[in-house]
Symmetry: C2
Subunit: 449 residues, 2 copies
């Protein structure tokens, strides 16, 4: 049955309080779908639903919930129940949940966990958010270097129920340092008597615990890894990060970059769950900053007040000209920012890219100058057409130059290049556009005596 | 050794034509790193390098190259060599390469392939680009429904060398219809005598061949799948799509959305490889369209020429006010477009989101009106301050309304909501801002007699 049919049946069963039907239907839902269904209920009803599932399935569905939902449900559970739910959760999700809890609840819940889980939570929860350490799980399979394939397979069978993945195995020396990796595929394809040391890959792709999460996602995607091992400064294996977590990080990072490109601050959790005040707070900062930045455009206009009064027709072309510079600049900035984020563009390429951009911008500027000169002739005669066309060419070239340089300049200053958003580029390009336009107009048309 | 060290040593070995050292160093590089290294060489040197690798490794590294690079190298190879390279390639990458070749070369190359590969290429190459069919591979492991675990394991061992993944297994009935999936983990954990039918999952997450690739990526990410089975209209299994391809699609789709948000058309391949004319072509369309859209702003200004001549100080605030509407609108559009793309926002939520947006926009508008009223008092006295503050409030609210509605309207018209780019929103908000500002000014200040 599809999610649509199941969820409708489940809603009906809930309406008539049919516990039996609920238990039956809920077991058929994929954990991700169940999480989605739960998100649409109030917290009390959600908890009621979850309690219809056996503990392992309950923990799995719980892991698919957004953090805010997890916290809402955790608030309603007694500590003992919460600890019971946390026990079968994957180590990384368990530590994330722990970090969400208010401090007194953290301690109270820890007391109900078994010692092994308690120590694991404490260790994992201590890594800084946004790093490899905070993403990694401790549920993986390790194999001693001197093992044979048969022993390794036996180890896999023994650890499989708890491990997040058994398809990638980690070979450790006697000091627990990571010396190689081995896939289950290789174990299965080779004779039981072969030695692990001979089969393992020693060209390791690995991360240190403090590697930023976007780098983690990039490594996993670049090398098509199932899981990335995480080591401490002594090369000891401390965790692994699986590809599905990397996919979530990549999506989160793309959202953050897109939001930054629209001058919106980092939103934790989704748009749907954000409070109105949070949305206000994440948007007002740049809006006000840009108001003040726009004063430069205003000041430029004030400076040329006499020219404007003499040739009021110039104002007709003002939005069109300054916007074009901003638009061409936004395009250039967008290409650069995304290129830097995906690794397609390197900072060292700046000089070469600048040269290319100037050629493209000249082409764009000439085309647009042609378009606008027709308009200029029609509205203001040949003199105005010349001013407008020439301004367009220069404005588009300067706008492109600003848009393409800003991400690199910001990066040099230690800022995220994604801060070079369309609105910021537009505002800077606007101010320079005003100066270029009225400057050209004043010098070509002259001031009335 | 790290990539940096290896690549430097490799460059040195190439400079002194040390074939022995090249063969040695190249074998140590990860395929993804080798592809990256090759990208920095000219095609002839790249091909020379690849030829230092044994065929399977050569095919793997080749698969990591961008399509344009693949095509450049394929041009230099005799058909027989090309066919030899294609044989060990994964079925999906092989079909993609085939689709890149000019038609006469396609036929010539096919003749050198074994019959099985030839038919596989023909079949896979026939699916439309951007669909599940074009992404899928045919290298997977299937198990008959009535098999026992022991037989299934034997089948896995037999097919493992050719399969793209052996960790997810597909159970077919006698008519080759997909009836269940089974993980290698389950095979390993259960007794050899258990029946596959009893162990397999029958709640299938699957795709039809024509499902758009962004939906494929979303399914794999939502359900944390290792691979997604693809079926035809008769539920027969025709291919699988692995998580690493889904990660590439997700990145590609995010780039496309970000580019669209900067009014840049779809760029195949990376920015680095794009020709200057392609860049011009992908950018000019929207730039010129927006020039003409901006005529509305100009016409608005022309309409209020008398007001402007009477109160020339109003022009000082023009960029600041109309940009603020555009900026607030861009923020709203950015939030909506990304929300729709990630599935966080549904079209059905529009009414509720609109209500929330209007509350937030009122808060934003009031804050900005306050900021700008101080500026207005300073530059033009209390009358001007009132006009400017009131305009700011209305402009920010209207701009937000435009930004948040445009993606939904576009979607209704069958367009991609991502077309609601910051520059488009800004241009529409600008025109309405001009009307609001000078409209309010004219009615509050009155026209000089």
């Amino acid at each position: 049955m599809t999610y649509a049919i199941l969820s409708e049946a489940l809603r009906a069963a809930m309406a008539r309080n049919d516990d039996n039907a609920i238990t039956h239907l809920i077991a058929e839902l994929q954990p991700a779908d169940l999480a989605d269904f739960i998100t649409q209920q109030n917290p009390a009803a959600s908890l009621e639903l979850l309690r219809h599932l056996p503990l392992p399935e309950r923990a799995e569905a719980f892991g698919y919930l957004e953090q805010e939902q997890q916290l809402n449900l955790a608030r309603l559970m007694p500590e003992r129940e919460l600890a019971g739910l946390m026990t079968p959760m994957p180590a990384d999700e368990r530590a994330d949940l722990f970090n969400l809890l208010p401090e007194p609840r953290q301690e109270a819940t820890l007391r109900h966990l078994a010692r092994e889980e308690r120590e694991d939570v404490r260790r994992l929860a201590s890594y800084r958010e946004g790093t490899a350490g905070a993403l990694m799980t401790t549920d993986y399979v390790t194999i001693p270097e001197q093992a044979k394939v048969a022993e390794a397979l036996a180890l896999v069978r023994r650890t499989a129920p708890d491990a997040e993945t058994i398809y990638q195995l980690y070979v450790l020396d006697e000091r627990r340092r990571l010396v190689g990796t081995l896939s289950l595929r290789e174990l299965i394809l080779n004779s039981p008597a072969s030695s692990v040391r001979a089969l393992m890959t020693t060209e390791l792709v690995q991360a240190e615990v403090d590697l930023p999460q976007e780098e983690v996602a990039r490594l996993i995607s670049r090398y098509d890894l199932l899981a990335l091992p995480v080591v401490d400064a002594e090369q000891r294996l401390v965790g692994i990060i699986t590809y599905d977590d990397a996919m979530d990080v990549a999506e989160e990072e793309a959202t953050e970059d897109i939001h930054k490109g629209g001058t919106i601050g980092k939103l934790e959790g989704g748009l749907r769950n954000a409070s109105l005040f949070t949305l206000y707070r994440k948007r007002i900062v740049w809006l006000v900053l840009l108001v003040f930045a726009n004063i430069f455009s205003g000041a430029g206009i004030a400076h040329f007040e006499e020219t404007i009064e003499a040739y009021i027709v110039l104002v007709f072309f003002l939005p069109l000209l300054i916007d074009s510079g901003g638009n061409a600049g936004s395009q250039a900035a967008t290409l650069m920012v995304r290129g830097i984020a995906t690794g397609d563009v390197r900072l060292a390429d700046w000089g070469k890219l600048l040269g290319r951009e100037m050629i493209v911008a000249t082409g764009l500027g000439l085309t647009m100058a042609l378009a606008v000169s027709l308009l200029g002739t029609f509205r203001g005669g040949p003199d105005i057409a010349l001013v407008v066309a020439l301004s367009m060419l220069v404005i588009v070239m300067v706008g492109s130059l600003i848009g393409m340089s800003l991400p690199f300049v910001l990066n040099r200053l230690g800022w995220d290049p994604a801060t070079a958003s369309a609105p910021l580029v537009t505002t800077i390009a606007d101010a320079s556009g005003v100066l270029i336009y009225f400057g050209i107009a004043t010098s070509l048309l002259g001031l009335p005596a």
